[in-house]
Symmetry: C2
């Protein structure tokens, strides 16, 4: 628990970051003088100034919590990041590697040799090693594996076998277990034999001789109850349990709903395998909402903000390519009406409005429905109710905004028929947006896909091409 003294407010951590940057800048000035040969190299090595900066930096890093060092490393450009990474005490490397983002972790691991990597990894618990494993060279993992006990190897193998989005991936192996046929007094004596309890121990797990879970003993109950009481009398006999193959999302929902701090993980035979704690769940929630946010903007994964141009291009190209295809289709829809546009060029100026408002309205619908689906509130049976409501909203909006824009079109081009076509096209495209906005996520769910992914691209593609088609089509029919 000695880390507790190092905890800082986030403004304080940002202050630390600024001080590190300051020290690095001063260091760079000295280096710069050497580089420009205004100061001979060998003198520098002796320079008190130089040594002092390094010492100051090192001392600062030693006082910081691993999570805060991770934060600082992420905020520094590559060369400064590696410089600071070199100054960090080797026995903290493992913890820090766990804390940094995937993109930054890659840059740090690239800068370490196998020996350092093995040393860093060996400091960690097996569930943590499993988290790092995908980023480590295989010869490093082999060395690490050899250094583990039989039980740890078994745990590591299990931890690595679980799907990334499963409960197993959130799980650790630090469950403290007791038997049901002892007194609380005995439990209290047993606990005093520990140097410290694992973090987030809010309950002990009651198991039988075969490690099968029989209940949980919340510390809060242990502390308020007469020590002569038996565990079996006060334990909670049917606690919520998770299984390693369940979706991580399931665990997250249970933790949120019931305000849990930890939960036991059991296998098919109710044998206790491990536990999930709230900190793993918080990280999971943060990461999954972040991934969703990034993928909504078409970024494949979190980007090291100081990534090279080329890495960034690779991270972003897929979405741009998809967008290009949908834009091309929309462009061809317009191409089909080139004759109409030639006769009435006002159409070219008005058509993006119809497409744009449709896209926005559709995105509102789809966002709301995808969110309700993620919470499990939308059954296929509700589809009709939702569709009716969304079409109602589209009709009202079509009337309001369509009329307004019809009026604007009339005012700009002094043509009543053009105004009417504008109003009709807006209303129709809003209706299309509502229908697609309800149908697409429901359909994707029924087919077993994640309703969120790509929903925004899809709706925009439909409302763009659809909007152009409806507006130009109506205009061709009624105006020319």
């Amino acid at each position: 628990m000695s880390d507790i003294e190092d905890l800082r407010q986030s403004e304080d951590v940002q202050q630390e970051l600024r001080e590190v940057q300051e020290l690095l800048a001063r260091h760079r000035v000295v280096e710069g003088l050497v580089h420009r040969q205004e100061m001979p190299r060998h003198e520098l090595v002796e320079t008190l100034l130089h040594k002092q900066h390094i010492a100051e930096l090192r001392a600062k890093l030693d006082r910081l919590h691993p999570a805060d060092i991770a934060f600082i490393l992420e905020a520094l450009p590559l060369d400064e990041r590696l410089f600071v990474w070199d100054l960090v005490k080797a026995d903290r490397d493992g913890e820090i590697l766990l804390e940094v983002s995937d993109a930054v972790r890659e840059t740090l691991i690239e800068a370490m040799d196998s020996h350092e990597l093995v040393a860093a990894t060996e400091q960690l618990d097996t569930d943590e090693i499993a988290d790092l494993a995908p980023d480590l060279p295989s010869e490093v993992m082999q060395d690490v594996f050899r250094a583990l006990s039989v039980e740890e190897r078994e745990q590591l193998r299990a931890a690595m076998s679980y799907d990334e989005d499963s409960v197993g991936a959130l799980m650790d192996f630090e469950a403290v277990t007791v038997r049901e046929d002892v007194t609380l007094e005995a439990v209290l004596r047993y606990l005093r034999r520990f140097d410290e309890l694992p973090d987030h121990t809010d309950q002990l797990f009651v198991v039988d001789r075969d490690e099968r879970l029989e209940g949980v003993l919340p510390l809060n109950l242990l502390l308020v109850t007469d020590p002569d009481e038996m565990v079996s009398n006060i334990m909670v006999a049917e606690p919520l349990t998770l299984e390693p193959d369940e979706k991580a999302q399931t665990a997250a929902q249970a933790f949120e709903r019931y305000d849990l701090v930890s939960a036991p993980v059991v296998d098919k035979d109710r044998k206790l395998v491990g536990r999930v704690t709230v900190n793993a769940v918080v990280d999971y929630i943060r990461e999954s909402t972040e991934t969703e946010q990034l993928s909504r903007a078409g970024l494949r994964e979190g980007e090291d903000i100081f990534a090279s141009v080329w890495d960034s291009v690779k991270n972003r190209w897929a979405w741009l390519a998809v967008n290009l295809v949908t834009a091309f289709v929309a462009s061809r829809v317009i191409g089909a009406f080139e004759g109409s546009i030639e006769k009435l060029v006002a159409l070219a100026a008005l058509m993006p409005i119809v497409a744009g408002i449709g896209g926005n309205s559709g995105n509102q619908t789809i966002t709301m429905i995808v969110r309700a689906m993620a919470l499990g509130q939308v059954q296929q049976e509700s589809a009709r109710v939702l569709l009716r409501k969304e079409i109602g909203v589209a009709m009202v909006n079509g009337l309001i905004w369509g009329s307004l824009l019809g009026f604007v079109a009339w005012w700009l081009y002094r043509s009543v028929p053009l105004g009417l076509v504008m109003t009709a096209a807006m209303s129709l495209n809003l209706m299309v947006a509502a229908m697609v906005g309800v149908a697409v996520p429901l359909l994707r769910q029924r087919l077993g896909y994640d309703p969120a992914i790509g929903s925004s691209v899809m709706i925009t593609a439909v409302t763009d091409s659809g909007g152009f088609f409806i507006f130009l089509g109506l205009a061709t029919l009624f105006l020319l």
Copy 2:
């Protein structure tokens, strides 16, 4: 802790929802028979069938956790929701009102009379009453207030005074305090006098006679240490503390970074005011990412999925109006080039591609930068590095996608100059997107605004109007 037995996996809760819907449907059938007068009303009241459904439903609701009842209420259309709400035991109303979403809470409160509301509210802790307060009629709040003790009134007044996004709003008053000059044995004896400890008690707060915080005593330490030890010897003397006026975001970052379960809240004089627990933080994280997601799609707030058409229109109009204005501006830019389009109608078909790709690329840039800023990793000094990188990415993308589209334009319209204009316009618009994508969030931050809000609208407005202007402008200069 008796609630623990009611905890369910989320699939099980969805199963419960389906069963409730089933019972409601059967109930509706009976009601329908009466309504169509195929069964006389007075007979129905006696019908075993009817009574049985109600009893079954009531029994089911009694077994469910308040959070699960809240989930079911949210997933039901208004009339069925109120029907179920009537069947819930009155002494659970308060807890359930706390759990439902704002939009659904309004519908439930509307259906209750003052007497019921006062009774429901009085079951809650003062910090919870403060959460409900904004939704309650003022005469209800006055009655509730009168029923509180002096200390509770003080707490409620304090809790209601804090800003919605402050630590004070996350705080509760259930901190368990001890003195430093006692033995752990005495602490253990003191704890046994409680019926139960407050949820999420992972540490006790060590205070002096004036309630000033001197340290914290983690239960994990209490349990593993010799009971004859003094509190002062093992307490953590300088724990992380929060202040009620700090931003909730600060607390959330500290909890995430350091994996906390609870943290003390102190005033300027280090007097202990309350504590923040991880469950409040998880709710805050969930809510704030949700709000961000909704506002990104232009929804003012979470919408009851069964809201009336009119409520939905009101929730969504603001963004559509903003979008209308930006679309109008873009339309006027095109209007300025109507002469050019008349001469070369291919321009009308190609221009949305330039605008669309620019918008997508700009959104990628801005999403990445806003996210890094939210994590505190972007200082104003990094601006130049970031700008250089983003312009680099834009140039590479301009070259790749611009050339591809230039080729497509040539292929479609057999005009080399048109292809070259297309390539140039794409590259320029991507560059504009990159610059605005970096500049807008940094500028907003420097001016003290939230960099996220409206960033997507702004960039799309610029890349639309800018894209049309660049493409049509270049075409007018070089092709006509």
